[in-house]
């Protein structure tokens, strides 16, 4: 097949990009080369629209061992231990085929982590679906949850936290973001930078099939009515093989045979071979006839673009082939020496004794397109003056029950009960709290992790929204007693070719950067997913943050459940009654306009650090951050988890009861303390200039607000737990 401009366009390349390829090569590429260019230059692999903005994110810090640019980020947690972690999207495939799309998303992110030598110790996920009324939502939710569980349960890695939301903007584009944390010794971290000449290049894992060809290109395009035709671009996962691959790789990694290792993820053999060579400023030569194939008569084009799962590429020390082969034989995995490193700085591929690809690597990598896309700055919406008359007909308990059963607030037990949360025997905080927590096996340390996103806030004002999610992630870690260390981000947006969507991206990233830099909470890894768009309509901007923190002594961990009747409840942080973009405004008042809550980074940091001091002194019996649904929602969840009630009195503020209890001001927590510690605690809060309200006390079985409104905890539990179960069983 002679390549021409039309074929290039069919591969997702722009006309000017095709011209650039011909100019750089000084000839027309053949079809395999064109396939390789399309895989390397698509948005998913090249970050061509986002690179310019991402480089401004803070990625350094005293605990950062490895920032963005490797398979995953790495942080130091002391005693020679390090945590490797990353979040990644698998949105497009999950919409086309929810089970396999979600499963391979989880498989892919775990591979990124164990490629670096780390054993995965925890999984998290952030999943977003269309309106519950939309005809596809239920099946997509069921398929995604089964897929996530199917893969991670089989791998024997606990799923410890997650986030699920529903919004009509995801009707045609769901989001599936998967995150993995792995544990490694600092001196046993493996990287993808090849080094040395004539080193054997090894292929291990599953055989290569025709599945997933052009997966990464599909993920870089807008959906249209022909979406069903794209099913063959979705990869098929085999968690059993990945479990074997994990054990085999970790076994090989105990020695010193590996120079570089890279998993074959998006764009398969193409991107893994090119990235390893590029990082080492080397060339790579591969004989494609040696690649283990699942099907007969696969062409070089298919072999290079297949996204078959559970495969790794390794550059080995000379003479270690036999030793490595023995390990992979033991685990019944394919092992093949397929090529070697060269000094040519080119990728040279042979098939049937003929050279089929001959391209300088710098053309593919350094010369890949980078765009400074046009973007539109968003205006801060005007505050909405809520007509207080609207509150008159509302009864606080009715509103509370309605909010607790809102799909975005209600208990997600139906989901996480399908995930193994306790395998590996170190899960000390399961889903349903502020963050998941796992112990570092055999030590007193534990790591906490949380995933967060606030698409509504980002949609109303991307800059504030970007800051808010970083703060929420930080708060969730603080609330369990963890010192926040670093974050990973998964940036889900519409088309970068649309100025408004691009503006949402640019400003969210700015906000995110500002907050993470202020909080000393650097970004160490991440991924961008553009084109979450059906025809002309993009999703609400949904940057997702995965935060990781350290608890030095796991016995000091804090949970959200109320502990003891008579204990005192304090609200930490100032409540102004910000209702715009709150769940209360949108769900109860049906008011969708206005700005999201303001972020005060000074207060955020100061409140968080003070809470950690209080936890350190063991004053805090329970804690929960205040977010969606405001104080009363947060407190109800504490009641539900602890099967306790509370007696509450609104402080004498100049704001209305609904504003106080449902407002979504930021930087706040609710804490439970013992009566005899009240003076010590308030003294410390005052000394650190932290605002607090005395909200009330823990009660036996009822939540009582201002002496007049009452509800039993059983009723709150019912409101909170029934919606999702009913929805899924209908």
């Amino acid at each position: 097949m002679i390549v021409n401009e039309q074929i290039a366009v069919d591969h997702g390349l722009k006309k000017e990009e095709y011209k650039k390829i011909c100019n750089l090569l000084k000839r027309v590429p053949n079809i395999t080369e064109l396939g390789i260019f399309s895989a390397m230059w698509n948005e998913h692999c090249s970050y061509k629209s986002s690179r310019l903005h991402l480089k401004n994110l803070p990625s350094k810090g005293k605990n950062v061992i490895q920032g963005p640019g490797e398979n995953a980020g790495v942080i130091d947690i002391g005693d020679d231990d390090a945590i490797v972690f990353k979040i990644e999207s698998h949105n497009h495939p999950s919409f086309i085929e929810p089970y396999q799309g979600a499963a391979t998303g989880v498989g892919g992110i775990m591979r990124d982590v164990f490629t670096m030598g780390a054993r995965p110790i925890a999984n998290l996920n952030s999943i977003h679906f269309g309106s519950p009324q939309h005809k596809k939502t239920k099946n997509l939710l069921r398929g995604v949850v089964h897929g996530i569980g199917g893969y991670s349960n089989c791998m024997g890695v606990p799923t410890i936290a997650g986030q699920t939301s529903f919004d009509e903007s995801y009707n045609g584009n769901i989001l599936v973001n998967a995150m993995t944390l792995g544990l490694v010794k600092k001196n046993k971290i493996f990287y993808s930078k090849a080094a040395g000449l004539s080193k054997p290049v090894i292929y291990v894992g599953s055989k290569t099939g025709r599945d997933g060809i052009h997966g990464a290109s599909m993920a870089s395009a807008v959906f249209d009515e022909k979406i069903e035709e794209k099913k063959p671009t979705v990869q098929v996962g085999d968690p059993f093989t990945e479990k074997l691959l994990l054990e085999a790789c970790l076994e090989l990694m105990t020695g010193d045979s590996i120079i570089a290792i890279q998993d074959m993820g998006a764009a398969g053999l193409t991107s893994s071979s090119i990235e390893m060579a590029s990082k080492g400023s080397l060339g790579i030569e591969i004989n494609l006839n040696k690649v283990p194939c699942r099907e007969t008569k696969m062409t070089p084009y298919e072999i290079m673009l297949s996204e078959s799962q559970e495969r790794m590429l390794i550059v080995l020390e000379n003479g270690k082939e036999e030793l490595a082969k023995k390990i992979f034989d033991k685990w019944n995995l394919d092992f093949a020496v397929i090529g070697k490193t060269t000094k040519s700085k080119k990728i040279e591929l042979y098939f049937d004794e003929e050279k089929v690809v001959d391209v300088p690597i710098n053309i593919l990598v350094e010369n890949s397109p980078m765009y400074n896309r046009k973007w539109k700055k968003a205006k801060l919406p005007k505050r909405i003056k809520v007509d207080k008359e609207k509150f008159k007909n509302l009864k606080i308990i009715n509103v509370l029950n309605k909010i607790l059963s809102n799909p975005n607030i209600c208990s997600k037990e139906w989901i996480w009960q399908q995930y193994d949360q306790t395998v590996m025997g170190d899960t000390i905080q399961k889903p349903g709290g502020d963050a998941g927590v796992v112990r570092i096996h055999g030590t007193n340390k534990a790591v906490a992790a949380s995933v967060d996103s606030s698409a509504v806030y980002c949609w109303a004002h991307p800059l504030s929204g970007g800051k808010q999610i970083v703060c929420e992630s930080w708060r969730n870690l603080i609330a369990v007693g963890a010192k926040p260390i670093a974050i990973t981000n998964c940036l889900n947006f519409g088309s970068p070719e649309n100025e408004e969507n691009m503006g949402e991206f640019v400003e969210s990233v700015l906000g995110l950067g500002e907050a993470s830099s202020y909080l000393d909470f650097p970004v160490v890894s991440g991924n961008v997913s553009f084109y979450n768009q059906t025809k002309d309509i993009g999703i609400k901007p949904t940057p997702t943050i995965g935060g990781v923190g350290l608890i030095k002594n796991y016995k000091n961990m804090v949970t959200i459940d109320l502990k003891q009747t008579g204990n005192i409840l304090l609200v930490i942080g100032k409540t102004e009654g910000h209702l715009d973009q709150s769940l209360f405004s949108r769900d109860i008042l049906n008011e969708k306009n206005g700005p999201p809550p303001e972020i005060n980074l000074f207060n955020e940091k100061n409140n968080g650090i003070t809470i950690l001091k209080l936890i350190d002194k063991k004053f805090i019996k329970a804690a929960h951050d205040v977010s969606l649904g405001g104080i009363i929602t947060a407190l109800s969840k504490m009641c539900i988890k602890g099967k306790k009630g509370a007696l509450l009195k609104k402080p004498n503020y100049l704001i209305n009861e609904f504003e106080y209890f449902f407002g979504e001001d930021q930087g706040r927590y609710i804490i439970e303390i013992e009566k005899n510690n009240l003076n010590n605690v308030t003294e410390m809060l005052e000394k650190n200039s932290v605002h607090y309200d005395e909200l009330g006390t823990v009660n036996d079985n009822e939540l009582i607000i201002n002496d007049k409104s009452k509800v039993s905890i059983d009723d709150l539990i019912k409101s909170h737990t029934t919606w999702l179960i009913n929805y899924m069983s209908k």
Binding site: N153, G156, F240, L244, Q417, D420, T422, V423, G425, T427
Partner: protein, 227 residues
């Protein structure tokens, strides 16, 4: 006391079991599925996980692996063999225990704490446990125990039911049956009571920071009875 934990390709609770056995005083060895001989053991444990990816039927391929012939001989000679979760599935597939484990009634994986009532304490696994029920953890997709009417009669006549799913006080009813098991069965013995298969994971409940501590009761009791 010497114990052996068998690792099959796809086992994933083997380390957890190793940690638990060691914690309560066993000298444990990890045995690879391709080995032919068992080391001298007071108990052999088949751990949970997804041996051979649960392909074909859960436990079916593992039941044919090399080491299993030795495990079967060991059991037939009266040796203690304990199978947890996937290990239970391997035991029924290998014929050491009657019945079969089907997919959960609601066709979904279930991971949560449950209570089990101990039915038969006249054996080395439960003799000496004072509590009527234990709070343990389940995590499985195929834990729905099933067998023929004739078999269930035999099982009951021989007092082979080890554990029932129940509430905290030991009431056995449909509300406390997480997976649809016939008669709420959570674990069974062979006729001789030296082989036990159970779906719940005691090894995940061995200290106060985890989901609970009733697993400790199980292991402490086990090592005392084997001494």
């Amino acid at each position: 006391m010497n114990s052996s934990v068998i690792t099959f390709p796809g086992s994933n609770c083997d380390r957890d079991m190793h940690v638990a056995l060691k914690k309560f005083g066993f000298k444990n060895k990890m045995i690879w599925h391709n080995s032919v001989e068992l080391p001298k053991s007071d108990i052999v444990v088949l751990p949970g996980g997804f041996s051979y990816g649960d392909y074909l039927r859960c436990g079916s391929m593992a039941s044919k692996s090399k080491i299993m012939q030795s495990v079967i001989n060991f059991a037939k000679g009266g040796g203690k063999v304990l199978g947890i979760c996937n290990g239970f599935q391997i035991l029924v597939e290998s014929g050491l225990l009657p019945g079969i484990l089907l997919r959960n009634k609601y066709l979904e994986f279930i991971c949560k704490n449950v209570f089990v009532k101990i039915n038969n304490k006249d054996n080395s696994y439960f003799r000496g446990i004072k509590k009527k029920t234990l709070e343990l953890h389940i995590a499985h997709n195929e834990g729905n125990y099933f067998c023929s009417k004739k078999q269930i009669k035999e099982i009951e006549n021989n007092n082979q039911i080890a554990l029932y799913y129940s509430d905290e006080r030991g009431n056995i009813d449909d509300n406390n049956n997480p997976n649809g098991s016939i008669k709420n069965i959570a674990g069974i013995f062979n006729k001789e009571k030296n082989v036990l298969g159970m779906m719940p994971h005691p090894e995940r409940m061995i200290d106060s920071s985890l989901s609970g501590e009733d697993g400790s009761i199980f292991f402490e009791n086990l090592i005392n009875n084997l001494k």
